[in-house]
Amino acid sequence: MSAPTHQDDAAHGSYKSYLTGFALSVVLTVIPFWLVMSEADIGLGWALAVIFGLGAVQIIVHVHYFLHVTGTAEHGWQAMSMIFTAILLVIVLSGSIWVMFHLEENMMPAHEQIERVRNLP
């Protein structure tokens, strides 16, 4: 059997790897919170980019240091199912936002609708 048998302890992390992940998470948490709490004026677009960018990096940090996802764990099925889920999430999230954004633009303003109903024969 080619499955690793004695690397389990390393795969579940050590004090060092947990502390590394923790330190990175603290930095990646404090920066966006500081940005919002100090009301630093860098423009809404940049602020959102920093918040979401660092959030995405922190998710990767957690996946690596806390969830210990590797390409070889469970013969690759763990990483494979995670990538599959990520693809589905991108489709659901971007699809929803895109479709509903346009729906709202195409909606008739409420007051016009009331007028239309009033003028019905």
Partner: protein, 213 residues
Amino acid sequence: MSTATPSATDMPEYHVIETPHHDGEEHPHETGTMLGFWIYLMSDCLIFGVLFAVYAVVGQNYAAGPSPADLFEIDMILLSTFMLLFSSITYGFAVINMQQRNTAMFYLWMVVTLGFGLAFLGLEVKEFTHLWHIGATPSTSAFLSAFFTLVGTHGLHVTFGSIWLVVLLIQVGLHGLTAENQRRVMCLSLFWHFLDLIWIGVFSFVYLAGVLQ
């Protein structure tokens, strides 16, 4: 320890039977439970993904009610974020002590983890009751419906994770760190770290981005 006798092979088994492996060591990974639990987590991830999508779509429909900037107290959110982050690393320490067969330290770190988890839940209950008190209920606006559904679902997960943690500690107390209990500890570890991961999305998307707009 199972109560079923090993000789009764025709009896249905409702738990994973641990078979000793070639070298006699216990590998919690080799039953398939860990992969199955991981796939459950991925399906849970899709639930949260859909709730995030709902929040993204209706999160700015305030219906003349309060907006995130009126409601959210970012310093309290920072505090609860750190409660979850601390609980993540203390759970990691518990797992390390479990692998080193250090049951007393395992217990200590698990109880600390539970403490941070309950502190997080306490802060969330405080926030929700405050919102309820000032009239910001789910029926106020689409934004608040989506907010309570998303954040409440996460809070429920943490609640059930805490109940699981207590039950697991009782089981370890009764039977010790058997192979079955080690596997359960590893499953809850995935669950607990996963909830911290979802919380990154919540505080970035709902709270921080919310008060900026």
